[in-house]
């Protein structure tokens, strides 16, 4: 992992199209501004983790639960 130190207002470039700017630092919270092409999706990692977890939960259903749907 590449680790960079940046101050408020400074930026980094990822490739030549994605720019990440440190907007503010308050206590343990960092606010980031991200400029990226529309084709690049930006998500909080928690979103992906939550979807992974939800998929696993969805898979855990029993045949009995499914039978409720049979009329």
């Amino acid at each position: 992992m590449l680790v960079l130190s940046r101050k408020k207002g400074e930026t980094i470039m990822i490739g030549d199209q994605i720019e990440v700017k440190v907007i503010s630092v308050e206590g343990d919270q960092v606010k980031l501004g991200i400029i990226a092409p529309k084709t690049v999706k930006v998500h909080r990692s928690e979103v992906f983790e939550a979807i992974q977890k939800q998929n696993k939960e969805a898979l855990a259903i029993s045949v009995d639960a499914l039978k409720q749907f049979k009329l």
């Binding site: 999706k41 979103v47 998929n55 969805a58 639960a65 409720q68 749907f69």
Partner: protein
């Protein structure tokens, strides 16, 4: 060819009907080949079954049947990955999380499964707005609003 399924026993499928999920599904990246099979119910649901592993079978539903005003835009990246050329080639599904108590069952509106029905390519996409598109949308509510 014959495959073993999670809920339907062994079924015969056509090779040409197999869907490719290049990156698998979140949490299950290792499984990339799936098939959609009908389930014997009166509800608009189907089984998205891995052709590689019997236990990997998701119950999916038609999202619009559960939430009438459900709509989302596909990003350029998604369209590219799905090799979409025409909107009529798109089918979308939502993963159901069924519970013993039916009222507690939910559908995932945040990450619909989108399929290019012509090219047989699928992807579970992630939408941006998690307030508008909840990860756990209660089927119970949807059923009531459908009346």
């Amino acid at each position: 060819m014959n495959i073993k399924t999670k809920f339907l026993g062994e079924v015969e499928i056509e090779q040409s009907e197999i869907l490719t999920f290049e990156n698998g599904l979140p949490g299950f990246q290792e499984f990339t080949k799936f098939i959609l099979l009908g389930l014997d119910t009166d509800l608009p649901i189907a089984l998205l079954q891995s052709t590689e592993k019997e236990q990997i079978g998701f119950v999916v539903g038609y999202p619009f049947a559960f939430k009438h005003d459900y709509a989302f835009d596909l990003s350029e990246e998604d369209k590219e990955q799905l090799q979409l050329e025409d909107e009529s080639e798109v089918a979308s599904y939502t993963v159901l999380t069924l519970k013993e108590n039916f009222a507690d069952s939910t559908i995932n509106l945040l990450a619909p499964i989108v399929i290019n029905t012509k090219q047989k390519i699928g992807k579970q996409i992630v939408l941006q707005d998690s307030e508008k598109y909840p990860l756990r949308y209660k089927i119970g509510i949807a059923k009531g609003s459908g009346k």
